[in-house]
Structure formats: C-alpha cells, structure tokens
C-alpha cells in the first residue's frame, strides 16, 4: 500500500518552480530514497511532503487523505503522522538533548507523568545509542550525535513516516554507516516508512528499496532500486554507475 501519492505535483519557492508536474507513490514500510544532483529539488520536495512548503501546483495524498495546505486540521493530521530529520539536526540549542527529545511528548501529551516521558525519552535515546549523553546540550555534541539525537526526537512519538534530509552529509563513513544501519533497523523492527533525501551513492545502495531520481525539473526514474541496472536511460546509468564502482557493501 502507498502511504504518499503525488499527482502533477510542482514544487518551488515563490514563483520559481524547481520541480514540475511529477507523479509518484511512496510505499508503506519501505525506504524510498530521493536522489539527484545538487539543486535538482530533493530538499524542496521533502519540505513540501513534510507540510512546510505549499506546492505550486498539483498535490499529494497522505494515507489516502489529500493534504490541504490551507487547512490547519489537514496539516495537523500530517504533522501528527510524520517525523523529520533535518540536515543539521535542528535540535533547539537552548534545551538539553533530553529536553529536546522530550519536547514533542510534553507538548502533545502534557498530562503524561514525567516518569513516562522519562522512559520514552530513554528508549528513544537508547535506540540511537545516545542515552549517556542525555544531559548534554546540542553545542556539546558532534555532528553525528546531533543527527542521531534529532532522529530520536523525530521517532519519539512513533510516526508513520520519517523524512530524512541528507542524513549522511558531513559525516565520516563510520558514523554514516551507523545511521544507515539505524534506518534499516527502523524499517525492519517497526515497519516504518522512510523517505531519505541523499546523494550518497553508498548509502543509497545500502538502504534504498525504491528510488526517485530527480533531474532537470522532473522525475527521471521512479522504481525499485533493483531495477536501476536495467534502465536504458543514460543519465540514470551514469548517475548510478559509481554505485557499482564504489560499492563495498
């Protein structure tokens, strides 16, 4: 079953269209990677799907319900079902890691006893192997730790879909692989749907079930990762050729 279905979707900023009239589906319980060269509209598409940037045209459905940007209720429904891992984590600097992860729980369920919140936060941080750093502030964490902490925050309310904006960018290969493993564990263990924006070919080869390849303001390829090799499109082959050269997985 598809959890997100986009039809004739155009995205961009102001009057500048970055991606025009694309149609695709994101299946439930799998990892879909959104790939493309820099400036192809990957992050812009992710922002639109995450309810942050109104589409310039067309629209999309989330869990069978059309997302209406003019309706607060529609956006609230979307936000309740998703988690977002931002490129630099976007942890609130004034709060400790514990408080950051506890934030969505406290805000949405203020009646929950602090003991329950504490256990939820601990479970989330343990999942990303950061339970020992709960008292630290974002400025005291490394880039990889910040991203893992942000992932814990995105996961703490058990969203249906997690959007990850370039999770491997700026990370060393070991930390990057750790994050990939984490995404695979989330998919296997919790049947979570993940939409990962990236251009790290190793990461794509490791985690992707499906691929959306963006280029020249459109969708160049949408399908199974396994079908990429059979694609007759020169751009698709050129883009992914490096995967085979560098793949050591």
């Amino acid at each position: 079953m598809d959890i997100i279905t986009a039809h004739d979707l155009s995205v961009g900023y102001g009057r500048t269209e970055i991606l025009g009239n694309v149609a695709f589906a994101i299946p439930e319980g799998r990892i879909t990677t959104v790939v493309g060269v820099s400036g192809s509209g990957k992050s812009t598409l992710l922002k639109t799907l995450a309810g942050l940037l109104p589409p310039l045209g067309g629209g999309f459905e989330f869990a069978g319900r059309p997302v209406d940007y003019r309706s607060e209720a529609s956006l609230a429904y979307l936000y309740a079902k998703i988690g977002v891992l931002y490129q630099d984590g976007a942890l609130l600097n004034g709060l400790s890691l514990y408080e950051n992860v506890a934030l969505p729980v406290r805000m949405h369920y203020p009646e929950l006893p602090e003991g329950v919140v504490r256990d939820m936060v601990h479970a989330g941080l343990a999942q990303v192997e950061l339970a020992d750093s709960a008292g630290k502030y974002p400025a005291e964490l490394s880039g990889g730790m910040r991203k893992r902490g942000a992932l814990a925050r995105a996961l703490v309310l058990n969203p249906h879909v997690v959007f990850c904006d370039e999770p491997s960018s700026g990370l060393d290969p070991i930390t990057s692989r750790l994050l990939d493993d984490l995404l695979l564990r989330l998919k296997a263990g919790f049947k979570m749907t993940l939409v990962v924006v990236t251009h790290e070919l190793r990461s794509i080869a490791r985690v992707a079930d499906r691929v959306l390849l963006l280029n020249d303001g459109g969708l160049r390829f949408a399908g199974e990762y396994a079908d990429l090799a059979a694609s007759g499109d020169d751009f698709v082959r050129t883009f992914f050729l490096r995967t085979n050269d560098h793949d050591d997985t």
Partner: protein, 357 residues
C-alpha cells in the same frame, strides 16, 4: 616589417604579464609573432592568453604552438560571452516613465503586503495568547519565567540608570528657563508630568527595542536559519505560539515593574537637581509634584509602555520569523527589527498623544 618574440619555457601568469608589457613597448609597427616552441609548462592563464591574442590583439599571431598546449586549448574552446558574468536580464518593457511607475507601484504593493503580514501576526498572537490562557498548552514550561528574567531583571539596571540621567537632564535644562520667571518650585511639576506621561514610556520603549527586540529577532532568526522553526512546525507545534507567547506574556508582566522603577529613577534624578540647584527639599519636591500629577498619569504611562513592549516583541518576532535561509539575513533582520520597533513606538506614541490630550 615582421618581428618575433620567443616565449620562455615556463609561461604562466607572471611571464604573460612580462610578454604583454613587451608587446606594449614594441616600437616597430607591423605584424608580431609569438613563438611558443619552447613553452613546456603552462596553465589556464596560458590558454586564456591564447584566446586573448585571437580576440584582442589582431596584429599578433601565435606560432609553433606545442601539441600538448594545443590539446589543452581544445578543452578551453568554450569561451564566455563578452557580457559574462553579468546576468542577462529581460529586456526592459515600456518607456522609462512607465518602468518608474511600475517599480513605484510594486514597492507600494510590497509594503502593503508586509503590513498585512505584520497585522496578521499581531492578530495570531492575540488569538494564541487567548488560547494559551485558556488551555495552558503549546508553550514550553518555564519559558515565560526565563523571558521575564531576561526582559525584566536584565533590563532594569540600564532602564533605571538612563531614566535617572534623563531626569537630571530635563531638570537642568528646564531650570534656567524656570528661574527666569521665578518659577523654580514648578520644577517638580514639570519633571513628574514629563516623566510619568512621556519620557519614561518613550525611553523604556526605545531601550526595550534595542535590548529585547534585537535579542528576540537574533534568536528567532537564527532558529529559522538553522531549521529549528521548521522542526517545531513538523513536531505539530506552532512557532508563532511556542516562541512568541512566552515573550509577550513576559513583556506584559515585566513592563509595569520596569515603568515603576523607571518613574522612580527619573523623579529621583529631578529631585537631586532640585535639591542641589534650588535647594528644594525632597519632601517639598514630592508634595509639589503630587499636586500636579495623579495616578492617571502613571496609568497612561504604564498603558503606553505595555503597548510599546508589545510593538517591540511582535515587530521583533515578525522580523525574526521572516528571514530566509542565509546567515547574513540574521544581522539584517536584527537591524531592521530595531528600526521597525522604534518607528512603531513613535507612531503609537503620536496616536496616544491625540487620544490622551
């Protein structure tokens, strides 16, 4: 008469400069040949120099170009347009007068849009405060206290010191005029009235704009640039509520305290001058003052300052939450926020003057 310059083995930017000056120094008219046969080491400046010869120096020819240089030059064949890197814009439509009027109209419409967005934010904040007071949800616990500490405790020394000095200044400057009419005793009336009604609200508002407004804008703008505001939104929180409501409640609660202390400081400043210059005892000064000013003067000053405080925080939040994605916009937004807040304070003060007097 033809002349030839034999180029050196290493031909890079420094050597090219020497060759060009040699070409300029040439006294003999007629064609000139640059002999590249010895050139072994070259870089992109050499390739650009070859292109320059072809385009700009028609009387100069390049001969004996080594194969390696010619091969490298092939990759350099796509040369930029003469206008590059200027971005070619669309051809201007209409007459100069039409374009001027169009630009003026666009500017006017943009200003109206900005005003509309500002008023919408103000309306949102009133709604969010109402909702928060009713439901007590959507704001981080303890944040209002943090903001009160920052806006009140951290601001009160500077507010008191400046208002004391304003009290001193207004007394000294008016003292001479009052002395001319033998009306020294009215200094207490003047200081009390001016401080409570006008100077304390205005000065406190301006200090808040510089201290609180700039800090709020810088913080919110940084959060916007670092995607923290987006993160709040996708967590299902409303940044306009989560970030702004504690600040608005804090400013509403601390302003009365600030105003009371600022009034006291300003009047004390006037009292010191009265004692020193006119030998008016503090008790007499206060007795004289309370004959002229009453609690409505204090109340109007208080109301004005609360409104100024709101203008500062809403203006600062508006600027902070409207930035784009670049770090430089944080600085620009902070500056604009202070200008906006001070402008709003003066405009609102002017409106109050019509209403009160």
């Amino acid at each position: 008469m033809s002349e030839t310059i034999l180029l050196p083995k290493i031909l890079r930017a420094a050597e090219i400069v020497r060759v060009l000056s040699e070409i300029d120094r040439r006294t003999v008219d007629g064609p000139l040949a640059l002999d590249f046969r010895d050139v072994e080491e070259f870089d992109s400046s050499t390739l650009a120099f070859l292109g320059h010869l072809a385009d700009r120096l028609p009387g100069v020819t390049a001969v004996n170009i080594p194969e390696a240089l010619a091969r490298a030059g092939e990759g350099f064949a796509r040369r930029p347009d003469p206008q590059w890197p200027e971005r070619p814009g669309p051809a201007p439509a209409g007459s100069r007068r039409d374009r001027f009027l169009q630009a003026l109209a666009d500017r006017f419409v943009n200003r109206w849009r900005v005003l509309g967005r500002f008023m919408a934010l103000l309306g949102d904040e009133v709604y969010h405060i109402g909702r928060y007071l009713k439901t007590r949800r959507g704001v981080y616990p303890g944040e209002t206290w943090n903001q009160m500490f920052f806006m009140g405790y951290r601001s009160f020394p500077i507010v008191c010191m400046l208002l004391f000095l304003v009290g001193v200044t207004i007394s000294i400057t008016s003292a001479e005029q009052l002395r001319l009419f033998g009306a020294e005793s009215f200094i207490a009336d003047l200081v009390g009235y001016a401080m409570l009604r006008e100077l304390v609200p205005l000065m406190t508002g301006v200090i808040l704009a510089g201290k609180v407004g700039a800090a709020v804008t810088a913080e919110l703008a940084s959060m916007t640039v670092l995607e923290e505001v987006d993160a709040l939104r996708t967590m299902g929180l409303t940044p306009e509520k989560f970030l702004m409501v504690p600040r608005l409640i804090a400013i509403t609660l601390v302003v009365p305290l600030l105003v009371a202390m600022a009034d006291a400081s300003g009047i004390f400043g006037g009292m010191v001058v009265a004692r020193v210059m006119f030998n008016i005892l503090p008790r007499a000064f206060l007795d004289q003052m309370v004959n002229t000013v009453d609690w409505t003067d204090f109340a109007w000053g208080l109301i004005k300052t609360v409104v100024f405080g709101w203008a500062v925080v809403v203006g600062a939040g508006f600027k902070g939450l409207s930035v784009g994605r670049s770090a430089e916009e944080v600085g620009r937004a902070t500056t604009e926020s202070v200008v906006l807040s001070v402008t709003l304070i003066i405009v609102i003060d002017c409106i109050f003057a019509f209403v009160i007097y």
